[in-house]
């Protein structure tokens, strides 16, 4: 969320005096303040690319803080510092405070269910005050434990951190106070100042804890040796082979299921076009299931078994770092997963090749056979074979910016809403253009103003250089025109500059003119050659030499760049049936806004749920500088055409399906990496059955229930928390109605009030496995973008790294050889 961030930045930059900000503070303070806010408030981040990284750092920092404090509290407990043999006054206070926290939630629930009146003390609600008091008391108790334990057992770093953390908290409050005076838009009241101060202070504490952890890890990382990592890794591989022959078992299961896929998976008959998608989806699911199952079983078992079987003695008695134990395992398992995924990928590709390609051939043969007997069906089959081929590619689309013109000719962001719910696979909602009216959908390519925010320019240029084949007429013409643009610009510059500069520019201009003339001549020669080929072809055709005519035409075409392919997926909405059997027609009009070339127009029937393809002459790209205007209208009166931005695109490249499929499997590899980290982490402190279940739960929560967790965190879940929902379930109450505040309901709500905030935080802990899955993109026949792969890799590392490091610390502090 970065809703009011620009405000602060504007304020910082728009300071009245150059040396000082508002309120007379020095400018550097005014400039630094927004950053303190961004780094302090957990729910806010910058809108730029590094925004996510800031959030990530803050979240990891908070977890580091929790982990550090917990470690010392546990240490204090085990050393009998906190809970001594003889309980003292502070222990009683702590126990009382625990009850008090519970009571404050209870009071909150009672107030919300109107069993208790609202009490506010100077603007603060009663439960909040109670909560604050009791939490503070509890914190004092924790503080005593921390100070004593850290003083006795901690090293210099820990002592520094403990002191620094308190300073950080104070700093948080201080910053909040400054904001209260200088930026009342953000910290509007004293109450907000106290709450924000605490939040920001805790975040700063987390950042300090992160620094401490990073410092400790840095030395460990520097001490890593590839040889030892390799040794631990290869041990993990050998071990997984010994354990249930896991990789081989997984391979055999894969082969067996694949051999019988046709039992379960019937490609939709009559619609082979869908076969590719179905098969790719199923194969990816199968690979994912098997790899994930293997990782889930193997990784959490490994360490606990080693510890239980005391084989870990042999390892820890060697000079092996603990981080090497963790990362070595991680690398070992990932090597195994890599090999498996490569093998699975190879087999799957072979399978797809034989099945789907076989079906394409079969469909085409059938279409040929039916050409005489049933021409309609033959045509349908040909189209389906073509669609299937489209799906088995890795298309790279170039998308424009979509705006509309309504039926009265007024520009609009959206088309007409016909009340038909239609979404693209990118979750964009389609809107409609009305037939036989000025209603138009316009896709603009080039540097285009964002229709929703005119301040933002979007770069949607058509990569002309990639589409025009070098050495062809269009490519040469394009070069010449670009030079002309430059010449024109230079001429203007020269006029403005005057004097010696103008003379210099003029001499450069002469060279350029010569080059333009050369290019023009070259293009002319090619055009003449093409015209001659065409003329010869016509002559050959007249002489009934069809083969020769065909050859000559090909030669002529080879001198031009191939036409540009555009693809469209439109939906049809009919208000009347129209003439039975007649399709709805669309008109495509393509204009090059930089030249005076008359627009390219084509009228064609729309086939719903199919990819409609059209070819635009490549000459429309010449001199366009990547800008094109593509307009689509509906020709059939009283009918509507539905479209969203990603329904129309220029096809840059058909790509390589095999490579794309493997990139799709890379998504599964990333999932496996995160899960391996989770598994190894769980294995460091849990017994193997619990570690296994933990890993499994992490996977299920991340893959199946992530949306649910998000709702949990945002408190947008209908029907309350788990206890309240249970009551609704048992009493057959719906999710919307308020429950009568009986004792049971109040207890349930109180329980939820305690549990929900903790469970809501799980959303930061549970890896979003589903986000790493790109199966749909691959199955639809689109290339997975390199930046998507990059972001997914970052995301996966963002999960795997903290888990593995947490595992390292646990293993380090654990008495493995006990």
């Amino acid at each position: 969320m970065s809703f009011s961030l620009p405000l602060v930045f504007l304020w910082a930059q728009g300071a009245s005096a150059p040396e000082s900000g508002p309120g007379g503070v020095p400018l550097w303070v005014a400039n630094a303040l927004p950053w303190f806010w961004v780094w302090g408030e957990p729910m806010i981040t910058e809108g730029a690319w590094y925004g996510a990284l800031i959030t990530f750092t803050k979240v990891v920092g908070l977890f580091c803080l929790i982990a550090w404090v917990l470690t010392w509290v546990v240490k204090a407990n085990s050393e009998r510092i906190i809970v001594k043999a003889k309980t003292d006054f502070l222990d009683y206070v702590a126990a009382f405070s625990l009850l008090g926290v519970f009571a404050s939630v209870l009071v909150g629930v009672l107030q919300s269910t109107e069993r208790l009146g609202q009490f506010d003390i100077s603007g603060f609600p009663l439960p909040a005050i109670m909560g604050a008091i009791f939490t503070t008391l509890l914190l004092i108790w924790v503080e005593r434990g921390l100070w004593t334990t850290v003083a006795r057992y901690g090293d210099k770093g820990d002592r520094l951190l403990l002191g620094g953390m308190h300073l950080a908290l104070a700093f948080g409050f201080a910053i909040a106070l400054v904001f209260r005076f200088l930026v009342p838009e953000i910290v509007g009241s004293w109450r907000t100042a106290v709450v924000s101060g605490f939040r920001w202070g805790v975040t700063y504490m987390g950042l300090l804890a992160l620094c401490r952890v990073s410092w400790a890890v840095l030395f460990e990382v520097l001490a890593l040796r590839p040889k030892r990592l390799y040794a631990v890794g290869s041990l993990a591989v050998v071990e997984s082979h010994r354990r249930m022959w896991a990789p081989v078992t997984v391979l055999v299961i894969f082969a067996v299921i694949l051999a019988f896929t046709h039992w379960f998976l019937r490609p939709p008959d009559q619609r082979p076009a869908e076969m590719g998608r179905l098969y790719i989806g199923t194969l990816n699911t199968l690979v994912s299931l098997l790899v994930i199952a293997m990782v889930t079983i193997l990784t959490p078992i490994s360490l606990p078994q080693d510890i239980k079987g005391q084989t870990i003695y042999t390892i820890v008695s060697k000079p092996v770092r603990r981080l090497e134990l963790i990362w070595g395992r991680l690398f070992g398992y990932m090597a195994l997963v890599t090999v498996l995924i490569l093998v699975f990928g190879g087999i799957s590709l072979g399978y797809l090749q034989s099945q789907v390609k076989g079906t394409i051939d079969e469909t085409e043969t059938l279409a040929q056979e039916l050409r005489e007997k049933d021409p309609d069906r033959s045509k349908l089959l040909m189209e389906q074979a073509e669609q299937l081929r489209t799906r088995m590619s890795a298309r790279v689309p170039v998308k424009g910016v979509l705006t509309f013109v309504d039926s009265r000719g007024k520009p609009q962001f959206q088309g007409i809403d016909v009340g038909q719910d239609s979404e693209t696979s990118n979750f964009e909602t389609r809107s409609f253009v009305e037939g036989a009216t000025p209603s138009t959908a316009i896709w603009n390519f080039g540097i285009v103003q964002d229709p929703l925010d005119p301040k933002v320019n979007l770069d949607r240029r058509v990569p002309v250089e990639k589409l025009l084949v070098p050495g062809t007429i269009e490519a040469i013409e394009n070069q010449a025109i670009i030079l002309e643009y430059i010449a024109l610009q230079m001429k203007r510059n020269a006029e403005q500059a005057g004097g010696a500069e103008a003379a210099k520019l003029a001499s450069q201009g002469t060279d350029r003119d010569a080059e333009i003339a050369k290019l023009r001549a070259e293009s002319k020669a090619l055009q003449d050659r093409a015209a001659k080929f065409e003329a010869d072809a016509d002559a050959a055709e007249k002489a009934n030499n069809l083969d020769e005519a065909d050859r000559l035409r090909r030669e002529a075409a080879a001198l031009h760049s191939p036409p540009v392919q555009v693809e469209m997926n439109f939906t049809v909405y009919r208000t009347t049936k129209g003439k039975i059997g007649e399709p709805v027609y669309a008109q495509l009009e393509v204009t090059n806004p930089q030249t005076n070339q008359p627009p390219f127009r084509d009228i064609f029937p729309i086939r719903e749920y199919y990819t409609n393809k059209k070819f635009i002459p490549s000459s429309y790209l010449v001199g366009s500088l990547g800008a094109l205007k593509c307009e689509v209208r509906c020709i059939s009166p009283t009918q509507y055409l539905g479209m969203a931005e990603s329904d129309f695109y220029i096809l840059l490249d058909k790509g390589n399906f095999g490579v794309n499929f493997m990139i799709g499997l890379f998504g599964i590899w990333l999932q496996a990496m995160v899960l391996t980290a989770v598994g190894v982490f769980a294995g460091t402190f849990l017994s193997w059955p619990v570690a296994f279940l933990t890993t499994l739960c992490f996977f299920l929560a991340g893959q199946v229930a992530f949306v649910f967790l998000q709702e949990f965190a945002l408190k947008s879940l209908l029907g309350g928390g788990p206890a309240e929902s249970f009551i609704r379930l048992v009493t057959h109450d719906n999710q919307m109605s308020e429950l009568t505040p009986t004792l049971g309901v109040i207890v349930a709500k109180t329980f939820d009030g305690l549990v929900m905030p903790l469970m809501g935080r799980l959303v930061y802990l549970v890896p979003n496995f589903a986000a790493l899955d790109v199966t749909n993109t691959v199955a639809e026949g689109f290339a997975v973008k390199p930046e998507t792969v990059f972001y997914h890799t970052l995301l996966a590392i963002g999960y795997a790294l903290p888990f593995s490091i947490a595992g390292y610390f646990i293993l380090k502090n654990r008495e493995v050889a006990a």
């Binding site: 379960f264 939709p268 392919q565 059997g581 086939r607 393809k613 070819f615």
Partner: protein
């Protein structure tokens, strides 16, 4: 303590014992499964996928899985992911092949709801066909369910024959090379008209009910106490509509023959048409002579009894007069409800030489009229109307029926317009001239006649009947 070997031996013996005990249980199980028709496979056609899935999800998990899949299918339908939806639905039937509601609901869903989402008629046809095939698959796995058979018949009959695009859909059916889809379930022949298939499937359902089979009444569920027991929807006693459907289908087929009811397929007359109308009459007589029973009871010989009702008696005054008052009431009521006198009389009239000739002349006249050949149109209409008049003198119920009056009125209207075009007056002695007034304001056309719907027949459709032209290949490639 037992040694390892001893333990293994005990397990082996136990396994063997359990396995042997099933041998005694099996015949009983088999008998039961035959009784309630829960056989998993017909010989030579084992559904291995279904078997494996059921094996993997033994017991209660199957229901849960089916439930999850059903919800997923609905989600997929909402997001218009039709093909994934179809495979999900197929999975449900693999899990629970004897769960009749899946077949009924999803078969209807595919052919009625999914098909309308597609714009091009050939896509619509594919989805209707999928729905029908799905239902047929259900029938194959539940052979004693009149409901499923009736649903299959209804989809052949109604969705293909009465859709707005019926003239195109029926043509696509005719051209379909898939013989299994067009094979008659009773005589095994391949037919080119969906109404013929409809008739046979309807007849099959009626026969099954007559043979006393009712899957849901006496099947698996009879031993289970349910709160809302599933009921057999079709073929219950007194279900008039159910029994009339074979006759309706045959009538539709015969009527469809005499017009361009499929785009680009000319009408058929002569012996073929006469014969099909004759069959329609037979079907109606079969329906009319079926013994229904009155809903109420009357006292006969001191006992309260239901009385027999034959709907056909309504058209036979002699028999009708002999009936009791109660029988007369029900006979009259049901005959009127089913428009029986009209259908019977119509079949009787249309099956004659004159009937077929008049229809041929009307058809030729209309074609001439639509192609502005007015002299021919006038001539054909004139001849046709005269024959039609003579014929209908003998068929009073048909003549007086509203539907026929509209039909005939339209011919008279066209005749009058054709005369107008030629600048001549409509002869005063033209039969049915009184109907002109009735239809003067009526501009509706017969949606099941391509001549009416598309005045220039097939050529009116650019690119034939399919929706989109194939993508243009890039020149030079």
């Amino acid at each position: 303590m037992l040694t390892n070997m001893q333990r293994k031996l005990i397990y082996a013996v136990l396994l063997l014992a359990i396995f042997t005990s099933t041998l005694f249980y099996k015949p009983r199980l088999r008998e039961q499964s035959l009784k309630v028709n829960l056989g998993e496979a017909t010989i030579g056609d084992v559904d291995a996928g279904s078997f494996m899935l059921k094996l993997a999800l033994l017991g209660g998990a199957r229901g849960v899985a089916a439930n999850v899949l059903w919800q997923r299918a609905i989600e997929l339908q909402k997001s218009q992911d039709w093909d994934k939806m179809e495979s999900t639905v197929n999975l449900i039937t693999k899990l629970q092949p004897h769960f009749l509601s899946v077949w009924t609901f999803q078969g209807w869903n595919l052919s009625y709801n999914v098909s309308v989402e597609w714009d091009a008629p050939d896509d619509k046809y594919e989805w209707i066909k999928k729905g029908i095939k799905f239902l047929r698959d259900g029938v194959a796995k539940n052979q004693k369910s009149p409901d499923l058979i009736w649903d299959t018949a209804w989809t052949y009959y109604h969705k293909l024959g009465f859709a707005d695009e019926a003239i195109v859909l029926r043509k696509l059916f005719r051209n379909d090379v898939d013989e299994t889809f067009k094979r008659d379930p009773i005589d095994g022949n391949v037919y080119n008209d969906n109404f013929q298939l409809g008739r046979s499937w309807f007849t099959k359902a009626v026969n099954l009910v007559d043979a006393g089979e009712a899957r849901l009444q006496e099947g698996t569920e009879s031993d289970i106490e349910t709160i809302d027991a599933p009921v057999q929807r079709k073929g219950r006693p007194g279900d008039l509509a159910f029994r009339s459907m074979p006759a309706h289908s045959q009538t539709r087929y015969a009527a469809g023959l005499e017009k361009e009811s499929m785009v680009g397929v000319p009408a058929t007359f002569g012996e073929v048409a006469k014969n099909e109308w004759g069959k329609a009459l037979n079907e109606w007589l079969l329906f009319g002579r079926y013994k229904f029973q009155t809903h109420n009871v009357v006292e006969i010989d001191g006992k309260l009894q239901k009385e027999d009702v034959y709907i056909d008696d309504a058209t036979e005054p002699e028999k009708f007069n002999k009936l009791s008052e109660n029988q007369k009431y029900w006979t009259d009521r049901w005959a009127a409800q089913m428009a029986y006198p009209y259908w019977k009389d119509r079949s009787k009239a249309e099956m004659t030489e004159e009937g077929v000739n008049a229809r041929r002349l009307f058809y030729e006249g209309t074609k001439a009229y639509k192609s502005a050949d007015f002299p021919t149109a006038v001539e054909k209409f004139k001849q046709g109307l005269q024959i039609w008049d003579q014929l209908l003198q003998k068929h009073k119920p048909y003549r007086d029926d509203d539907l026929n009056q509209k039909d005939t009125g339209l011919i008279v209207k066209r005749y009058a317009r054709a005369c107008q075009q030629l600048g001549i007056d409509v002869p005063k002695d033209t039969p049915f001239l009184d109907l002109l007034r009735l239809v003067e304001q009526d501009n509706s056309v017969d949606p099941f006649d391509a001549v009416e719907m598309l005045s220039r027949g097939v050529s009116a459709m650019p690119g034939g009947s399919s929706g989109g032209a194939p993508p243009t290949p890039p020149p030079g490639n």
